[in-house]
């Protein structure tokens, strides 16, 4: 009997640690880049080997292309993206005063299209939308992430954090179970990583394409056998916002390359 009690007591701290996630200390935060092999890092390091730069190239052309009923291009209002968009992606998702909600970069581009260009919004993960977000995010390379510092965003960051800690799906896993508690371990052959969204939109070798942070989040939810939120759902934006605020101060890498 005494040994049984001892075993139960010994198991308590383990049980407690799996239930309440321990957040990653500031000094131990690592970009997904540092988990990659030198070969994959080399693809990201060289702009003529990084396939994400193909979307940046396309985005550059789209930036200058006139569209919509007003026949305006992005450049007609924002001029040179390399100046006007510098550091912008590092602040997204940002608070939108008109709707009273945070909007991510994809939604901001589409808001601009519908209100200022009077054009149809672009579909999530379409080549055009990814190209535009890629060219915008590329202007923030090296800029420290500064999302979520707006006090109006506080309740949304909190909602995103709650979602990150929430167990969901058939496997009954929370994001935090892997990315806060076990980021130094592996899931089969793959590094788990800390879920620091420093390089979105990014080129994933598995996708053979550029993809948004929402695509990544939805893939994770499918992996834990949960019902993924729809693209553009407020829950996904809140999660994006929490992850970006969690990575505050880390340098942007867009368009990054990941395995």
């Amino acid at each position: 009997m005494r040994t049984a009690v001892a075993i139960v007591l010994a198991m308590l701290p383990i049980a407690a640690s799996t239930l309440s996630a321990t957040e990653i200390p500031q000094g131990e935060r690592r970009s997904g880049y540092s988990f990659m092999t030198p070969e994959t890092q080399a693809i990201q390091n060289d702009d003529t080997a990084n396939p994400g730069m193909l979307w940046v190239l396309d985005g550059d052309a789209l930036w200058k292309k006139k569209t919509g009923a007003t026949d305006k291009s992005c450049a007609d209002c924002h001029d040179d993206a390399s100046i006007s968009m510098k550091g912008v992606a590092a602040r997204y998702p940002a608070f939108d005063r008109a709707t009273g909600h945070p909007v991510n970069l994809e939604q901001r581009v589409n808001l601009c299209r519908t209100t200022h260009q009077q054009a149809t919004p672009l579909a999530y993960e379409s080549r055009e939308l990814l190209a535009l977000t890629a060219v915008i995010a590329a202007q923030s390379r090296g800029t420290a992430i500064d999302a979520g510092s707006d006090p109006q965003l506080e309740p949304f960051v909190a909602k995103g954090r709650a979602l990150f800690m929430l167990r969901q799906g058939q496997l009954n896993l929370a994001c935090a179970n892997c990315h806060d508690d076990h980021w130094d371990k592996h899931l089969a052959g793959s590094a788990i990583t800390q879920a620091q969204p420093t390089g979105y939109p990014l080129y994933r070798l598995e996708w053979q394409s550029l993809g948004s942070l929402q695509r990544r989040l939805r893939s994770c939810m499918i992996g834990m056998r949960a019902q993924p939120f729809d693209y553009g759902a407020p829950e996904l934006v809140d999660l994006e916002l929490y992850l970006m605020s969690r990575a505050r101060g880390m340098p942007m890498e867009s368009p990054a390359v990941r395995p």
Partner: protein, 106 residues
């Protein structure tokens, strides 16, 4: 939208071995995949790549369905004279793209 990224050194010494890197935007659909309804997704790949140095062919590659999307091709050649390097990608469904880069050889 097709875009290419080319990396050719701007300057080289005569006789120097230079590395050329090319990246072409392409989906490289294998033709072996099926949709959820069971229909075959038709093959759509780049089938050949050629590099000409002042008109003379210095590198050629044949591409096949097992090659990943956005093929990255890197190769070496000897810098013989100043001039132009021309690149050509040809593929299914009439895909044809060209790009060029100039090099100064001293």
């Amino acid at each position: 939208m097709a875009a290419a990224l080319i990396n050719v050194p701007k300057h080289a010494r005569r006789g120097e071995v230079i590395e050329i890197k090319t990246l072409m935007s392409h989906i490289m659909e294998t033709g072996y995949r099926h949709t959820a309804e069971g229909a075959v997704v038709p093959r759509d790949i780049i089938t050949s790549f050629v590099c000409r140095y002042n008109g003379a062919e210095v590198f050629r590659a044949e591409l096949f369905p097992a090659i990943a999307a956005n093929p990255f091709i890197s190769f070496f050649t000897t810098a013989t004279e100043s001039g132009k390097l021309e690149f050509e990608w040809i593929g299914d469904n009439g895909f044809s793209e060209t790009a060029s880069a100039s090099i100064a050889v001293e």
